[in-house]
Symmetry: C3
Subunit: 250 residues, 3 copies
């Protein structure tokens, strides 16, 4: 794997994004993460997964410059894989702890909210589903997960404003569960992963499925249609120009 | 339009109920509101809507004396239009800010909770879905919206008690979002409307639809059956006598 | 009825579990409760129901020693009845107040959360859906009710940890609604039952159905499949041994 690091420690797998400075998500990243999560799901030695990033970003979201070169068809294919990845994580039969080591933005936030528990480093990093700020829509599944954790009103406030949240605000909102110092991130994520892993694995998987399946069915029922609408808006003149300008500025 | 005032100010439309002292809702009011909201939805110059009332009431709800003269069939027709109106507002593609200038009761509360943001004047005005207090049921869609904003337990408390809430209690409950002085109502509603309107309109409409569609489908799936049950209870001897007595007393 | 006491007081029925020291639930208990609730639902003299237990336990849950002698088929039959009982209570057309006189554990907690209002005695009694702690799953309907009252995140915390909650923690969580002293339990439950019963019964039943039906449909849609999965896990070697050990220790 080029962009995904995998280490194991006493039954706890650690999956770490490592792609450039901001861990930008492209199709290879999604393919590697999907394969990695799937393989670990079948390995009885793996009791829980920690999902994190290397460097100062969990991930800044999609690699927009790369996707500006995609055709509509190719982009739909990518988005189908991407939303499939967060659905896989959301329904993952083992515990998944998100260790948010830095900025967790847009597509990065969508992956984070699919996990069971979110620990974020205290400091200046932000978490946000800010697509509306570059005239983009989002996906049905990501909206469904936001409503689950935040409730309808706060999910609307977050998604319709594109606000960037500090860890403190995000915890208040229900977007993350815990804040720790940078130095404690690995140990606290490990502690939470071991806490989940101490439960009987069959009972855990069964109860987690009962907790998540109704929402997951809603997510999947609407995902295809929402991807097509997302793509229409993405390739509209106004949004496309916004995206190009964003790329030039960065 | 006889009972609905419409003014425009820099892309913000202001729809104001104006019918007698309490802005009682009858079939003409519903027809006019429905037409007005629909026309504005197609007008690209309109960026957001403020929905308010003239005088001391947003609205006290249905014009009960008038409906006591309706046949069951005519009342079912009216209720189908009324619930269609709140569904239209709930799924409105543009931002809708409710500027609750006074009492917001029963059917009035149902219209208010279909909006995106509720600002209420501080003071003695109350907000309530109090149908149970005159032995009446409510509609499936209104219950669904209450559960969305308040959560299950608080929605049950509100609907099964018919409690009248002060603005402070309503904000604590999640029934309204903001309290302002009477003098600031227009300017604060305008500020919120412009805040929403500053977002890209296509992205806003798409994300709002994703946020609301699952609940709207639940609402619409159950509305017809709930209207028929509502009407059965409305015309039952006990409820009918309550309504007549209420009319005589008022 | 052997294990269920029924008394009436001015239109308020009091159903009390009374089976041994811990009010353990077996098939006869479920049959008697089901019959009792159904009969009262048709009796126009009954305005509300209080559901409680005799002694120091509301109920400690299933009578595990007895069920260890059940075949899979018999256990599926029992579980179908049990989940049908909580669905009946959840959709009960009259008010049901749970007067939790003591420990309210596992299956006991599932019955409690089907009621409209939960009052618990202050003191050392605990409430918990702790199935995961003996390597057991739960049922779809019980998960759905937990999500309704607690919200997704807190329901996940409760069900995936099996934590035992004090009355204070349970109220904070939304798992119970009110805490009273042992001496005040009966009078406070009566007060709440009379408050509900003061509403028009047809309007109450109609509005309660609108509030509960969407969740109840989710519950029922998934219940059969979840019972079969529950049974597979229950009879797995690991869980079976846990259960036997639990019985020997107790």
């Amino acid at each position: 794997m080029d962009f995904v690091g995998l280490t194991m420690n006493e039954g706890i797998a650690r999956i770490a994004l490592r792609r450039g400075k901001v861990n930008a998500i492209n199709e290879t990243v999604v393919d590697e993460l999907t394969d990695c999560f799937r393989k670990l799901s079948f390995d009885p030695a793996v009791k829980a997964v920690i999902f994190t990033g290397e460097g100062k970003f969990f991930t800044f979201g999609f690699d927009i410059p790369e996707f500006l070169g995609y055709s509509k068809e190719a982009f739909v294919r990518y988005l189908t894989k991407f939303t499939g990845l967060y659905a896989d994580i959301f329904l993952y039969p083992k515990p998944v702890v998100a260790a948010l080591n830095g900025h967790t933005i847009a597509g990065g936030c969508m992956l984070a909210i699919a996990c069971d528990w979110r620990i974020m480093v205290q400091g200046s990093a932000k978490i946000s589903l800010n697509e509306i700020n570059f005239s983009s829509s989002v996906f049905a599944g990501s909206v469904e997960m936001m409503k689950l954790w935040l409730g309808q009103k706060k999910a609307e406030n977050a998604l319709l404003s594109g606000a960037m949240y500090s860890p403190e605000d995000a915890r208040e909102l229900g977007l993350i569960d815990q804040i720790v110092s940078k130095d404690d991130l690995d140990s606290e994520a490990g502690k939470k992963a071991r806490e989940y892993a101490s439960q009987d694995s069959a009972a855990f998987a069964s109860i987690k499925k009962l907790l998540r399946k109704p929402a997951a069915e809603e997510m999947m029922k609407r995902e295809r249609e929402s991807i097509l609408e997302f793509v229409e808006i993405w390739y509209s003149e106004k949004t496309w120009n916004n995206l190009k300008e964003k790329v030039i500025r960065s």
